[in-house]
Symmetry: C3
Subunit: 292 residues, 3 copies
Amino acid sequence: MAPPRAGPRRRPGLVTLTSDLGWAYAAQVKGALLRACPTVPLVDLTHELPRHRIAEAAFVLRAMASSFPPGTIHVAVVDPGVGGQRAPLAIRCGEGSVLVGPDNGVLAPLAHALGDPRAYRLDPRRIEPHGRVGTTFDGRDLFAPAAARIACGEPLGRLGTVAPFQDRRIPEAVRGPRSVVGEVVHVDHFGNLISNVPSEWVPESPVGLAVAVGRRRPVGVPWVRSYEAMGSGRLGTLGSSFGTAEVAVAEGSAAVRFKARTGTPLRFRWSRAGVGATERVNSAPSLPRHRR
Amino acid sequence: MAPPRAGPRRRPGLVTLTSDLGWAYAAQVKGALLRACPTVPLVDLTHELPRHRIAEAAFVLRAMASSFPPGTIHVAVVDPGVGGQRAPLAIRCGEGSVLVGPDNGVLAPLAHALGDPRAYRLDPRRIEPHGRVGTTFDGRDLFAPAAARIACGEPLGRLGTVAPFQDRRIPEAVRGPRSVVGEVVHVDHFGNLISNVPSEWVPESPVGLAVAVGRRRPVGVPWVRSYEAMGSGRLGTLGSSFGTAEVAVAEGSAAVRFKARTGTPLRFRWSRAGVGATERVNSAPSLPRHRR
Amino acid sequence: MAPPRAGPRRRPGLVTLTSDLGWAYAAQVKGALLRACPTVPLVDLTHELPRHRIAEAAFVLRAMASSFPPGTIHVAVVDPGVGGQRAPLAIRCGEGSVLVGPDNGVLAPLAHALGDPRAYRLDPRRIEPHGRVGTTFDGRDLFAPAAARIACGEPLGRLGTVAPFQDRRIPEAVRGPRSVVGEVVHVDHFGNLISNVPSEWVPESPVGLAVAVGRRRPVGVPWVRSYEAMGSGRLGTLGSSFGTAEVAVAEGSAAVRFKARTGTPLRFRWSRAGVGATERVNSAPSLPRHRR
């Protein structure tokens, strides 16, 4: 008897696409997916990630993809090592989602966020039975057809074999009693500096809050709840939509102001928590604050 | 007996997405929508509107969304006041479309264009029964799940209560016998200055047409039917795809040439209408001229 | 009895959209398509092609669209001559795909790649029975509704009449025994110079490879298999994802380095093929090498 899930599903699973390829190259990935599975529902997340930046891609992908429903297939192609030896992967997570892409660490933080990851090393000979001559566009020629077959219900065990994967983690901030040391993990398209400091590590109404960017001196900064509250051109710190603290310049670019980029250290310190802050932090330590 | 439309529809309604969030944040909105309604058809309009510019967003949204079929759900997140007191809205229009977003005026011109608007103030407690702690990303946490439930057929009366909405209008141009005074309401991605002057207010073949941008002196300008007719680097005026007159520099940027932006005044004047123009204007006053 | 395919199909055909319109104008095209056929599946390829560049659009469209499944409807709106005399076209290709857009050469290379093209000149009176007054946004008002009706199964013969089409070809490179002369046919969003030189015309491990860009002197350049192999800021030549040779600067812009653009001549020469190169070229002359 046929095993469950061995054949095509009635409705193919949802596939999301994330890359640093730009829209024109990404179009070829979409074509290859639809050629292998013409009714697969596709959702573009972005194709304009900063090029070849593994750590930043891993952070942004985790934030973008983790709000999707269980069972989604997430394809992520940020692949500076294409043509080299890194393995092609598909990772099934506990809640049924599958991550597809090169084994360079981009998928790992999302895999851990979704939980219970089990990785398969994709076998190109099973996915491209006729082979390729000299091509190294794995996004189109390997990951797209693999994702299409997964979306149509093919089990991962038919496309590859269980294997370990590169276990990159988002760098962790270090917490003191009245300070946190972290770093910029993403510069968004407004020039806001997104840190790896969980928003709830900074008290909600801190007194004497200051931020030091890179090797610069600390500058006093208000903790605000909205850009509007900052005033045009003014500096502020707030909870980002990634669940972490962010340094922003209202209607300006903090990245330009501080000459900062991904990897730049960020230190927050404050003299004491404001009224009501302790209670909030204690009652809901696991839920990030967001804005937008 | 169950009232009509009270339960989920067979096929969820089409949802369009418009924002100034950039693609990476918009991905989180899409994930939240699909989590609440996995088969909802999504169409991105744009996520790169100029940031926090309510008036311009309202103008562009009206133009983009009004060509969609009746029954479409349009989500628009341009929300400088997030975290503040502005109400979250869903507006049902006469032809069955629903507009979802903050009550800051972005939705109003589209609502009037679609006709017969009836607004509901969304109740976060009905949409997010478990609450949020400190987050202010309403696009993802409130508007997306609300839109998903509307797309699946849930009546607005279950998500909120009837309420007034902020009644912003697109600024109106003022018409003289041989002149019009308006303003720039949008600078498109080519740098063309899109005005609020209905194209048919300028005669089709005006003699002695001149345009004054901001406080600059009027300069003579041809009324053309295509960019091609202008000649590279040359100034021209034509009917825009928004149904209004536009000032453009062929293969260049009128915004740079005139240092103009949204809100910059624009005055057109002409000495007399050319041959055939009067007839065209009279016979079809309500239909805009477009190009592209 | 009704002829086969004369009525609407059960599931509308897939429609792809390519343009230089920017996302805001493209939204109006999508709305018009969905208004005419509310369940049509849409896939954006890109709306940010370099503006009004026919030759470049033709090259990129062919690369993007040719990986899509047979039966796809490709709409391409790069239309500097809108409002002029160029014909509106729909071209059915042998494998069932249909190309829709203005007759200015953008569609021709894709039509030839798909094979057996048969063009119809669209009749606006059959597509817009109530006419238009003065508008020239054919992407929204003519091509979108035509594509929607084709996607719903309407035969081309009902929308227009068989006609010739402008037969533009991608410029061809010229091959010598140890050199190739071609040109830049696309500058991608990284600034890489994509040539019209088939990758397999350059031997895989050429000795003494040099490239001359424009009227500059030849410079020695390695043939690499990945950007990573080049080293930051270094020049390299590799097989592009378009199947042709590309000149790139790792983590930089070759277009800026050489002040090159579409149409700039490119000459490759080498002193002899490296080990193993001849065999590869001989055994698989028709398959391009790719990267990414």
